[in-house]
Symmetry: D2
Subunit: 114 residues, 4 copies
């Protein structure tokens, strides 16, 4: 939101794989931002509900919906990561694939909170 132009320019050299811009990522960028703005709206809705003394259970239902939306966003991101970065690492050969799989598994573990 407050991303500076300079930041946006610099990022065009970066990528979701930490090296080059992958087109898959950029194609989805608009959709990701739209999802996140919707989630931001849900969180602001939660503040309004608390402020207006909405019944607890109704607030909890909204929390469940927001959590689900966040998990769904994470899953989409993960899918692109596996398709581009993990697959790229496999093609490159060497130890890269082990590092990438290890990293992805740890991220999934954090999502599962095991």
């Amino acid at each position: 939101m407050t991303t500076t132009e300079a930041g946006a320019t610099a990022s065009s050299e970066q990528t979701d794989c930490g090296e080059h811009v992958t087109h898959g990522y950029h194609k989805q960028k608009g959709e990701h931002l739209k999802r996140l703005r919707r989630i931001e709206g849900q969180i602001r809705g939660l503040q309004r509900m608390v402020d207006e003394d909405t019944y607890c259970i109704d607030i909890l239902t909204q929390v469940s919906a927001s959590t689900k939306a966040l998990q769904s966003f994470a899953l989409q991101l993960l899918e692109e990561h596996l398709r581009h970065c993990v697959a790229d690492a496999a093609l490159k050969g060497g130890d890269e694939i082990d590092a990438k799989v290890d990293e992805a598994t740890k991220a999934i573990g954090r999502l599962l909170r095991t």
Copy 2:
């Protein structure tokens, strides 16, 4: 979004138990709003990360933190609900307690996504 004073006034007749204002709820209100504003900041941070092509795994780490913060908020709310509304229903006697416990269990189930 822009909770009016009128809204706040009207809500003083409501309550987290759906009937009267319980003081426990109001005491925590400021803390709840603070937590939610912090979560809103995390979601805006996620938008910035996507916009700046941050590495997927770093975005996923931030999603996990936001989900955790939401679950933690839900748990706090649930605790107050059990302490005030469910306990009140038990004191009132009658069928009220069954309805309240059933409702709370369903809310917990949604949080667990079973």
Copy 3:
């Protein structure tokens, strides 16, 4: 480990609230044991799948089913606990309700793994 008849007899003096036998608990006991035996069967099924080199994804699907069955069992137990023990604590008055709600909330938190 191998629950003796004596153990079963002794337990009739105990209760799910830590004091007296509540009938709600005993009524559900058979159903709980049936659910748990089904879950035990699922876990043995998982061992068979690993032993027979079943495709990973199919094993993961079975793990999800078992986890869901466990969460569903937990939710049922929690419902009875809220209906009997937490409600009883409310009727007794005093600090008991705070301790019971605190304890139940912590258990829910562990289930959510926040």
Copy 4:
């Protein structure tokens, strides 16, 4: 458990990628079975707890431990799957990688229960 010798023989032609035996999978097989037998023991422990009228909260704690152990097993399996099957699909080229990533993402989604 009731795995027949015939079954075990047949499975030696199968693999975790649905085609050939990958050695990575077989190296971990003993560890997987050990983990699953421990989880089976936990589930039997739960039956004993219910049978002996153990306090609900203590049963819930044990359920959380079993769920965590199952998720941890799933994560280990997923890691091997990504390292072997998904990476293999990337090397093969063609549409295989898309199908494998799609399948893995759906399995992760089921684990997250989104």
